[in-house]
């Protein structure tokens, strides 16, 4: 009943772990899979190791957090060993999240990792990446096109482009990614960035000063972006942003998402959030008479 399909890949339910959350090692990814997620996205990794920013890298804000972890990762050679230890069952999906600054870096990473994963998500949207990475790409339709094309050309698994909401027109970027051959889109990466200043010491809390906002606060923006992009592209959309219960998941599906990712709410709900939402979602569908996720997708687009 909960099954979904995203560009030909089967998921036993619509829930995935979002990139950057508990995704640094195989053990935690396996734990999340055992906890009911149908898919896991690894933490974004690059060619070379990266220690990320100095702490503080995360701070709470109203209805969410802002973070600038800084894409810390052990580099492709080390990380591939973690990825090979991830154990997926039937209709469970392993997705590698990769980042870089150039088409060559993306091609290299795709070629390096594609035999060990089911799908690859391109992080072209991190709002606190170093020069040339992350949102520096996803805020420019031409760069987006170049990077997605390079990744797609190198890949024999589906390519997902993860987009930033921090643009004037997300539809334009989505269209670029689709035109470049993206098989699916993930919407949205963290918002802003935002900032928290401690008033007792008159200083920004994060060492990077600015950090991407996530959590409940960003959900309305994510829902709107999914809704708008659904009308703009023909490729499937994975929704992410502020999901903490089945109602949020349904809202994303009605907006046009075929699957969703969950991240920040693990902070309050624990990894049990996956099993718990699956149960509630199934009850909701039974109550309302929905037989499949498929028939629920984009229902909020229908006229009265």
């Amino acid at each position: 009943m909960l099954k979904t399909n995203i560009c030909g890949v089967n998921f036993k339910n619509p829930l995935m772990l979002a990139a950057g959350v508990l995704g640094s090692n195989a053990s935690s990814l396996n734990w999340v899979l055992k906890s009911g997620a149908a898919g896991v996205v690894t933490k974004s990794f690059s060619k070379e190791p990266n220690t990320g920013y100095k702490n503080p890298t995360t701070v709470g804000v109203d209805c969410g957090i802002i973070n600038a972890i800084g894409l810390s990762n052990p580099g492709a050679d080390n990380f591939i060993e973690e990825i090979r230890r991830v154990e997926t069952g039937d209709d469970e999906v392993l997705i590698a999240s990769i980042y870089g600054a150039t088409p060559d870096e993306f091609s290299f990473l795709v070629e390096k990792i594609q035999d060990d994963v089911d799908m690859i998500e391109l992080n072209i949207s991190c709002p606190h990446a170093m020069a040339g990475c992350g949102a520096a790409i996803g805020q420019d339709p031409n760069l987006t096109h170049k990077i997605v094309s390079a990744a797609k050309d190198a890949s024999n698994v589906p390519i997902i482009a993860k987009l930033t909401p921090n643009v004037t027109d997300i539809g334009e970027i989505a269209k670029s990614a689709e035109d470049a051959g993206a098989d699916a889109l993930t919407l949205i990466n963290s918002l802003g960035p935002g900032m928290k200043i401690n008033i007792d010491v008159a200083k920004p809390v994060l060492s990077n000063r600015f950090g991407g906002m996530s959590g409940k606060a960003v959900k309305p923006i994510a829902i709107r972006d999914v809704f708008v992009v659904y009308d703009t592209v023909d490729i499937p959309i994975i929704g992410v942003g502020g999901i903490s219960n089945y109602e949020d998941v349904v809202e994303f599906i009605f907006a046009g998402a075929r699957g969703v990712q969950i991240g920040t709410s693990i902070m309050n709900e624990g990894v049990e959030v996956f099993n718990s939402i699956n149960k509630d979602l199934e009850n909701f569908m039974k109550d309302k008479g929905y037989k499949s996720i498929d028939e629920m997708v984009a229902l909020a687009h229908e006229e009265l």
Partner: protein, 266 residues
């Protein structure tokens, strides 16, 4: 919100040893919660932020005890009374502090005595019979020996060089104590190699125990994944830092390796 740093003023600095200082500050327990022994704080000195064990939990007052081992701790050691820090937390799963009438062995190696001090104090005040092994390289570096004695704890100092108390490692002294005494439970914190040694001894003797682990930490909120351990995936900042011996058995990187800021294993 305990996920936002609260600015506290250092009200007292105790020079515990040549390399270790204790920093005492007020903490509004009504507003930010009362930490339990074994929980930790994220300490921000406006340049960096690191997890620190709580060494003392008094009425609306906390202390951290810090060894000068690197850039961050060296910066902390430069602080004066009246200077401020940003503190968020407390975080994590602490020790079992609500025991009664137990025969307890608590073992702290070096600055690992910080959380051992808070759990030994709580348990002694709660009517348990507590033996503490306070281990250090030499007598000058021993921590909390007198203050724990003052509240009725049986403190057994232990130094690598034998300058004070038992000569040898904490593991050696533990073996001696276990011979004569039947302990209900043990609490352990120290360098991981020491904890691994103690773990093997306590397991052989079938003494249940709780261990306080340390891993590189970023968010402390249970989401960044930086402190997750093999093979369970558990987060040191949420499921830990304290694990019972039964759970610790499942952490197969314990005593073997850890990951650095980028995630590379060492």
């Amino acid at each position: 919100m305990n996920d936002v740093p609260q600015i506290v003023k250092i009200k007292e600095i105790i020079d515990e040893t040549p390399s270790i200082k204790t920093f005492v500050f007020d903490w509004d327990m009504d507003k930010y919660g009362t930490p339990n022994p074994g929980e930790f704080l994220m300490v921000w000195n406006f340049n960096n932020e690191k997890p620190m064990s709580i060494s003392k939990i008094n009425d609306n007052e906390l202390a951290i005890t810090v060894k000068n081992v690197g850039e961050f701790t060296n910066e902390l050691h430069q602080l004066k009374v009246g200077d401020v820090l940003g503190i968020r937390g407390s975080y994590g799963n602490g020790f079992s502090y609500d025991l009664k009438n137990k025969k307890v062995l608590a073992i702290g190696g070096g600055v690992g005595m910080a959380p051992i001090n808070s759990i030994a104090t709580a348990l002694a005040n709660n009517g348990n019979d507590v033996d503490v092994i306070s281990a250090a390289v030499n007598g000058d570096e021993l921590l909390f020996v007198d203050s724990l004695k003052d509240i009725g704890v049986n403190v057994c100092p232990c130094t690598d060089d034998g300058s004070v108390g038992f000569k040898g490692f904490a593991t050696n002294l533990a073996i001696e104590l276990i011979k004569d005494t039947s302990y209900d439970i043990a609490f352990v914190c120290g360098p991981e190699i020491m904890m691994k040694g103690v773990f093997d001894i306590l397991e052989d003797n079938e003494i249940p125990a709780e261990y306080s682990m340390e891993r590189y930490m970023k968010c402390a909120l249970g989401i960044c994944g930086q402190c997750c351990v093999d093979n369970t995936g558990w987060r040191i900042c949420v499921e830990g830092p304290v694990f019972s011996n039964d759970l610790l058995k499942e952490i197969n990187e314990f005593g073997k390796y850890h990951r650095d800021a980028s995630g590379i294993k060492h």
